[in-house]
């Protein structure tokens, strides 16, 4: 019954102070919209970068002279690292495979038949679980005697430069993105708190009168908190609808028709449903906390 009263009070207040309610709703809406744009974008970029990272293979060249036992030992070492979780997958490329791959890159492959022997070594193509640990894998495998140290990278080539560069980009995007999202999140909370503060400030006389008539602090506070929750949820919900429309009208067609690099990798991002729920709950929570917290100032004395 009391809850019913507080709820009716909140609704009444929203109606009576349309300007204020609209302002609060718009603020939540904008804040949530920005977060709703950035969070999935960030996760998408993040996932794309991770996919690219996972394509950085390590080439372990096997010396022609290495006996079969040494090659088997090397493979066992790789399998051991795989079971440790350092390596995701690997494949063996024989000398013939290597030559065939090389041939495919030449204009007139027939000339290679003139070579006295196959100049290319066999190799293991190792896909690390985490490209940042390339160095660790390389160090571990370097003990093997099967390695052809005349090849680039002393026989273990893992495109250090490319890896580093990509990792730097990935790290940059990861940190910068997190920092930006954190900034936006803090900004959103500040902005919403700000608006609610102003809206309660505009009604400070009303609060004063309520107190003079014998209302307890919580009696005054509950309707404001409920009002905050309603404004927060409504603002967030409007944002979610706009985001959904944007998704349907802009993002989805773009994804399905695009042949570009960014989309065809089927990088994943957060599901819309999850996002919507998170945003709406966050909107309501921020509204509630903002109201309840701000009111403390006006409930002194």
């Amino acid at each position: 019954m009391r809850l019913g009263f507080f709820f009716r009070e909140a609704i009444r207040s929203i109606k009576a102070n349309v300007a204020i309610s609209v302002a609060a709703i718009v603020t939540v809406m904008i804040a949530v919209f920005i977060l709703g744009t950035f969070i999935p974008s960030y996760l998408y970029v993040q996932s794309t970068v991770n996919q690219q990272k996972s394509r950085l293979d390590i080439q372990v060249y096997v010396a022609d002279a290495a006996p079969q036992s040494q090659v088997a030992a090397l493979q066992a070492q790789i399998v051991a690292l795989q079971s440790q979780g350092l390596i995701k997958s690997f494949s063996f490329i024989s000398k013939t495979d290597a030559l065939n791959q090389f041939k495919a890159r030449l204009n007139d492959p027939s000339i290679l038949t003139l070579l006295p022997n196959n100049p290319l070594p066999a190799s293991f193509d190792v896909r690390p679980a985490d490209p940042a640990k390339d160095g660790q894998i390389a160090t571990a495998l370097r003990t093997s005697h099967a390695i052809d140290t005349t090849m680039p990278g002393n026989g273990i080539s893992y495109a250090e430069t490319t890896t580093n560069r990509l990792l730097t980009i990935a790290q940059f995007i990861q940190y910068a993105g997190l920092v930006l999202i954190a900034i936006l999140l803090v900004a959103a909370i500040l902005l919403i708190g700000n608006t609610i503060r102003l809206s309660i400030f505009a009604r400070r006389r009303e609060v004063e009168v309520m107190r003079l008539v014998g209302a307890t602090n919580w009696f005054i506070r509950w309707p404001f908190i409920i009002e905050g929750i309603i404004c927060g949820v409504v603002g967030a919900a409007i944002s979610v609808v706009i985001l959904w429309i944007a998704k349907i009208l802009v993002v989805d067609p773009y994804v399905s028709t695009s042949t570009g690099g960014l989309t065809r990798d089927s990088a994943t991002t957060i599901g819309f449903g999850t996002l919507a729920v998170i945003l709406i709950v966050a909107g309501g929570a921020v509204g509630a906390v903002g109201s309840g917290f701000t009111l403390r100032r006006f409930l002194k004395v």
Binding site: R205, E206, V213, A215, T216, F219, V301
Partner: protein
């Protein structure tokens, strides 16, 4: 005059309210919401009370007096003499700078902040500037004073129209305060102070914006309320009313108590 008032009040109170109230006495209903329990029969005790605003301004200057439960007191004095200050101390809108204020047996200086709402529920207050809630209708404004006490919706729906009828506002119950004339707003403030059947009723200039006839009606209402045992403290400038009623008069001037007489007039020497 007092007989006049009684007669008219009795004719006015053809409203069925008293009949409905059977079963619970007025006393018990008040106790349920109020923390005012004057032990020794004094509703208000001021003991050496001084109120300073800032450094220089003295609102009240070393006032000592006592008002018994059930009394009717006029508070008079020129503009700025400290009448409203006196009243604001009674509802603990602010604290005295010095001295003790005791209301209903409670020392307000020692009362915790969380108790204040309960104190105020036991006191009906008509404010000089009305203090209505701007976004609410007249009905809602009056009902709010009952809502805060947790009164049942049914009870609220009965009491509010009753008091609005008594103050002549029945046909305006759906209006907002800023859609009323000054005098009508003042009557809403009076209705809100009455609706709770408080033990102590304080009115700061309740007839300032009312014509003489309406003023007399309000006075009659106050008088009847007083007769049911409610203590009434009324600040006023209305010489005619004070002179006609011949009740206790407390006169302030420059924050000082200059006169405290029973059955007195507005001024000592009639002009």
């Amino acid at each position: 005059m007092s007989t006049d008032a009684d007669a008219q009040l009795n004719s006015e109170s053809e409203s069925p309210a008293p009949a409905r109230r059977t079963g619970r006495t007025a006393e018990r209903r008040i106790d349920r919401r109020s923390i005012l329990r004057p032990g020794d029969g004094s509703m208000v005790i001021f003991d050496g009370v001084t109120k300073r605003y800032g450094e220089d301004v003295v609102g009240l200057d070393n006032i000592s007096l006592s008002i018994d439960a059930g009394e009717f007191v006029f508070l008079v004095g020129p503009s700025g003499s400290g009448k409203s200050t006196f009243i604001r101390l009674l509802i603990k809108e602010m604290d005295a700078s010095e001295g003790t204020v005791i209301v209903g047996g409670r020392d307000l200086g020692k009362m915790g902040r969380s108790k204040v709402p309960y104190l105020r529920r036991g006191i009906g207050c008509v404010f000089q500037d009305f203090k209505l809630l701007p976004g609410r209708t007249i009905y809602e404004n009056v009902a709010y004073a009952l809502e805060v006490t947790g009164d049942a919706p049914k009870s609220i729906r009965r009491k509010v129209p009753e008091i609005l009828a008594l103050t002549g506002l029945s046909d305006k119950s759906d209006r907002l305060p800023n859609e009323l004339s000054g005098g009508e707003q003042q009557r809403v403030s009076i209705a809100r102070a009455f609706v709770n059947h408080p033990r102590l009723l304080i009115a700061d200039e309740p007839t300032g914006n009312l014509d003489p006839d309406t003023s007399i009606g309000i006075m009659q209402l106050l008088y009847r309320i007083n007769r049911t045992g409610t203590t009434v403290v009324m600040a006023t400038h209305d010489r005619d009313l004070v002179d006609k009623m011949q009740m206790r008069v407390i006169a302030l001037e420059g924050g000082k108590l200059v006169r405290d007489e029973r059955s007195a007039s507005y001024a000592t020497v009639e002009p």
